[in-house]
Chain length 289, copies 2
């Protein structure tokens, strides 16, 4: 994991417009929002999938960065006062606490746009263009109103409401699951993966996407603020429906374990080549922040 994390961090620093470039304050805010740590789970999944399938990692850098940029923009907007109004993220003040609400709004907007820019710019032959276009379609449909942004809208409407487990699952499939699935898909696209391998990978992706969210809900209860880098207990404080609130602590833990088991089962047809993906699934259900 660390190898992929370091790789995406280097690529992000290389791609981002330098902070000396006008408008400097906006570029500062973009750097602050992106380069301040984070687990880089989406790029890690994209790199790991691509490498398991034999791709050259140079062909994955832009997509890995795009995934992380979309994730970072969503965090910046999510933390704004009109949304979750959070002060702390990745152990530091949130972007709007440092740069003001308006600049943070613009930084988020510009990061979303920049994700697409680095995937689309450059001189490509027609075969490469076709793969790039598919990556852009994958990432943009995972981020929009029927993906991540849609999940946030459902989340917003759900505060203080009672959701069924099915409704909670649908919300998270959109809010976090869609971009995690997209991470696996773009990794596979970078490796020119055939349809026969794509199907088990997507099943795997759905399971770990859900497991990731359940673990997130558990950590909000069980970890402390310092380890999390964001305020512990904020779901409960904001009266958000979560897996532990619906299933209890042990019920939620069981469900995460089930998702991990399903993920492993989905990978069976792909043999030993995808062992790194098996390890990532373990990491996702066991992580402590």
């Amino acid at each position: 994991m660390r190898r992929y994390q370091e790789r995406v961090d280097a690529a992000l620093a290389r791609f981002l417009p330098p902070t000396e470039q006008t408008p400097t304050q906006l570029h500062d805010a973009m750097h602050y929002a992106v380069l301040g740590g984070g687990k880089r789970i989406r790029p890690v999944l994209a790199y790991a999938t691509a490498e398991c399938l034999g791709a050259n990692l140079d062909d994955v850098d832009a997509a890995a960065c795009a995934l992380e940029l979309i994730h970072c923009y969503s965090l910046v907007h999510d933390d704004l006062p009109s949304m979750d109004n959070d002060d702390l993220r990745r152990g530091r003040p949130t972007c709007h606490k440092v740069y003001g609400d308006a600049m943070a709004l613009l930084a988020g907007d510009a990061l979303q746009c920049f994700a697409i820019e680095i995937l689309s710019k450059g001189d490509y032959n027609e075969a490469q263009s076709s793969a790039r276009l598919k990556m852009i379609a994958t990432i943009s449909s995972a981020s929009g109103s029927t993906g991540m942004a849609g999940g946030q809208a459902i989340d917003l409407a759900a505060v203080g409401q009672h959701l069924t487990i099915e409704q909670l699952e649908q919300m998270h499939r959109l809010k976090t699951g869609a971009l995690i699935e997209a991470s696996i898909t773009v990794g596979a696209l970078a490796a020119n993966c055939d349809a026969a391998s794509m199907k088990p990978l997507q099943d795997y992706a759905q399971c770990i996407g859900l497991a990731f969210q359940i673990r997130d809900d558990l950590l909000d209860i069980e970890a402390d603020t310092e380890t999390l880098g964001k305020p512990q207990g904020s779901d409960q404080e904001q009266d958000k429906p979560t897996y532990p609130s619906l299933l209890g602590l042990s019920g939620a833990k069981n469900m995460a374990q089930q998702m991990h088991d399903h993920a492993l089962r989905a990978l069976q047809p792909l043999g030993d080549d995808v062992d790194p993906l098996r390890l990532l699934s373990s990491y996702i259900v066991e992580r402590t922040h």
Copy 2:
């Protein structure tokens, strides 16, 4: 113009996810922000350029819609309380006044994303993929931190400051000019325009982009709120630097006329085929809202 406006309105209504689709409130807010009128100047420029150069308009619809979706998202975010805090847009309450700040933020985010989604999704042969990718690169670099969002960041920092005419011009080249230029470029890309014709078109685009902004500044002073569909005099009230504030009313009018003259001169090498673009330049300096 009306033919193109009706064409893009129909295409937008066709592309947008139906309001009955989950999450319904988010889709409602997206429809409200996009389908509430507007001059559709960017799609009109893209269609007109493409048609002058012999393209089939069916190949321009997605790009024309993408340009308008990017413009609409920027208006929704610009109107938010943390930005310009405007209550009125296109003669109706602004998006956040109807749907709340959080939902308006998400609607803007989702519209930006949706612009890219409709340009990237679909089955294309490799030549078409290549053109699509160039359109996406054009639109995304015109919208980000070195384009529209960057111009807004400069605008934000400029409130109450004295700008030179060069600084004002740089701000507007980014804030409105970049996306207007992109409109001409994607129209030309849809027509497989050669480099020899691209250069005069881009010169033309730069001139009308600036003329458009000067006219906007003049209208903020000279038109009434009802005609504008947004509050008259808001630049002055917010102490924003404008062309009339730097050059006086007649100085600003002269400059708009000069830009129109330059635009016509730029088009000379392209002959009669581009007469519709000449008419659009006149419209831009003469429009009353």
